[in-house]
């Protein structure tokens, strides 16, 4: 049976459609909830979020993977209502964006405890929501080197992935040697891992995307749209053409098309930061897919990147 955990329950993989594989309804660093400067009324949250999801649906988007970690304002009840009202499938994650976003209860935990947390959220539920996590989020802390805590989280994610069949999605693919060592030691096939943000403006030069792909990993060009051309770009922005050229160079005329996924990493309604004006998940339809067509990708190639590859990746291997 092919199934993917969404916040409204498992769905058949065949129903996913076009997938935005690395997005956020709303992301905030842990502790940002204490700072009223970021607070928004629930009315405003829905106002900022619903039109983007509706447009995503109308453009032909099927599934929105929310990559917001456990302590980053992940709000599964909110996602459930959004999904039910807009018709967009939403996949929530377990795990952490990086060790530096894990609060002390988890930062001080060992691999076994973290594994149990992830497995519980995938097989029993996230808190009291009744929803099951569909992916496991891991990541590299600020600084570009995996910390001891990052490594414990990666190892726990690998064990939870093996136990549940859920895939692993990474924040940053820098320091991949350490990540792959852990996945190899745990026996997790690398096609169950999406090494994300290889196109990130800060780390792209030092990210070994081709090497990771040759090892069998899936590669995420998933910060599309964070461009230096924006009126107020974030520090991780990159010139639009540079990113697109990087993507095309990686795909190598289609040779590595089966291993690549793409997304925009946008916030519908940011929680603990101002967000980036003008950047939404719909960059995928409004800019990225037209750019890919203009660069010569045919419809079959676009379907591979946005439908087939994410379907393979997200399907629970159990």
């Amino acid at each position: 049976m092919s199934r993917v955990n969404t916040v409204l329950g498992p769905v058949p993989t065949e129903e996913l459609g076009l997938v935005a594989v690395h997005e956020h309804i709303g992301y905030g660093m842990p502790g940002s909830e204490l700072d009223t400067k970021w607070w928004k009324a629930p009315e405003q949250r829905y106002e900022e979020t619903v039109p983007k999801l509706r447009a995503f649906h109308e453009y032909g988007g099927g599934t929105f993977v929310d990559a917001t970690g456990i302590c980053n304002g992940r709000d599964v009840d909110h996602y459930k209502s959004l999904s039910a009202k807009t018709g967009v499938h939403i996949v929530a994650c377990t795990g952490f964006v990086g060790g530096d976003t894990a609060l002390p209860h988890f930062a001080n935990a060992g691999v076994d405890y973290l594994t149990r947390q992830f497995v519980h959220e995938i097989t029993v539920g996230i808190g009291g929501t009744g929803s099951l996590a569909g992916v496991i989020k891991v990541g590299v802390s600020r600084g570009g080197r995996m910390t001891d805590l990052d490594k414990r989280i990666y190892r726990a994610a690998a064990r939870a992935a093996l136990a549940t069949g859920a895939p692993v999605l990474t924040h940053l693919a820098i320091d991949a040697e350490n990540a792959i060592t852990i996945f190899d030691e745990e026996g997790l096939p690398l096609d169950r891992v999406l090494f994300g943000h290889v196109d990130d403006g800060v780390n792209a030069d030092r990210t070994r995307d081709v090497w990771i792909a040759e090892k069998g990993g899936r590669i995420g060009f998933d910060t599309f749209g964070y461009e230096t051309e924006l009126p107020d770009p974030p520090f991780w922005a990159r010139p639009r053409k540079e990113r697109l050229d990087h993507f095309l160079r990686f795909v190598d005329g289609g040779r590595r098309l089966k291993q690549v996924l793409a997304s925009a990493d946008a916030n519908c309604s940011p929680l603990g930061w101002p967000g980036v004006k003008g950047h939404t998940v719909n960059y995928i339809f409004e800019d990225l897919i037209p750019d890919l067509r203009a660069a010569g990708l045919d419809e079959a190639a676009i379907k591979t990147v946005f439908v087939d590859n994410p379907a393979d990746f997200l399907t629970l291997q159990k």
């Binding site: 660093m29 842990p30 204490l34 607070w39 456990i70 609060l103 002390p104």
Partner: protein, 324 residues
């Protein structure tokens, strides 16, 4: 800061200081290790928590207690609406605190913000965050502000104050200067050093309580006496905890008597450091009434008179908690 202000900020609003009665200054009501609220094996049943805390507060009141100070700050399980209901139901005054620390208990928002480079928060930003919890009210995260915090509490890292701990301490001191609430600090490895950091902000020593001075290392270093000499309040705040890193209750009683003899009876505070309900850690399961039921007789046996005891349990905390 007003001339009217012999009042104390409780969760139900300002209360005249003389109504506080016996005060326990360093206690915890609901104590949650940050993140434990998301853990698969932690259940937060607020009705059950209320029942447990209400029983403990009623026991405190039955033994002569008047006011409990939850000195755990803004990010360790503080639940202002629960505390309001508890205070109404039990008649015990509850003072809740703002502040955070040590560094390892902060969220990433304060330590690795989304800037390049990810520079930890400086003192002024902490001061602003904490000050608003007094002037505008304590936060229920992402929902609303409630009543004013009655204290700003912070803690240094056990192995020694870090740069971010120092920002927290300076931010707490600036909060006290801006709002008139007192600072509660738990030192890291050197009580007098850590006290001097907040005094360096020109905060009068009488607006500071130093906790943890019944740790054996502090006693060995003479820190309780030195704290009192500087004019700050010296809190022996693990009454009932013996062995390990703490001195015994008998030793605490001797220390109190020594401080009183040295003329510092007006600088001493006592508390059990009890945890009402602990989530994500074991807590310290003592009754809030322990000081009253078990420790006061030891003081009396040491020759302290009723006046000395009353001063320590009522007058000193009243002066500390009065908004200046």
């Amino acid at each position: 800061m007003s001339g009217m202000s012999n009042t104390v900020n409780t969760v139900l609003g300002p209360v005249p200081a003389e109504e506080l009665g016996v005060v326990s200054v360093h206690e915890a009501l609901l104590s949650v290790v940050p993140g434990a609220e998301y853990a698969f094996d932690v259940t937060i049943d607020r009705a059950e928590i209320f029942e447990t805390l209400a029983a403990k507060l009623r026991d405190f009141r039955a033994h002569g207690g008047g006011t409990i100070v939850d000195s755990t700050g803004m990010f360790h399980g503080r639940d202002v609406r629960l505390y309001e209901a508890l205070s109404r139901a039990t008649g015990v005054h509850i003072v809740a605190s703002t502040g955070q620390g040590p560094e390892e208990l902060l969220g990433g928002y304060f330590l690795t913000p989304q800037t390049n480079p990810p520079t930890p928060w400086p003192a002024d930003k902490f001061a602003d965050l904490f000050t608003k919890e007094v002037t505008e009210g304590m936060v229920v995260p992402r929902v609303e502000r409630r009543g004013a915090a009655g204290l700003v509490a912070t803690t240094a890292t056990r192995t020694g104050m870090t740069a971010t701990d120092e920002s927290l301490f300076r931010g707490a001191a600036r909060t006290a200067l801006a709002t008139g609430v007192a600072v509660s600090l738990r030192y890291g490895s050197d009580a007098v050093h850590d006290l001097d950091v907040v005094l360096d902000e020109k905060l009068p020593a009488g607006r500071v309580v130093v906790g943890g001075l019944d740790r054996a290392d502090a006693v060995a270093a003479g820190a309780p006496l030195e704290t009192a000499r500087r004019g700050a309040y010296a809190a022996l705040d693990h009454v009932g905890t013996e062995g390990g890193e703490h001195i015994t209750d008998a030793e605490r009683a001797a220390l109190v008597a020594e401080l009183v003899r040295a003329g510092f009876g007006d600088r001493i505070l006592l508390s059990a450091g009890a945890t009402g309900v602990a989530k994500g850690h074991t807590g310290n399961d003592l009754p809030y009434s322990h000081v009253l039921t078990t420790f006061v007789p030891l003081l009396t046996a040491r020759g302290l008179g009723d006046g000395d005891v009353r001063r320590i349990l009522e007058e000193n905390p009243r002066a500390l908690l009065s908004v200046r």
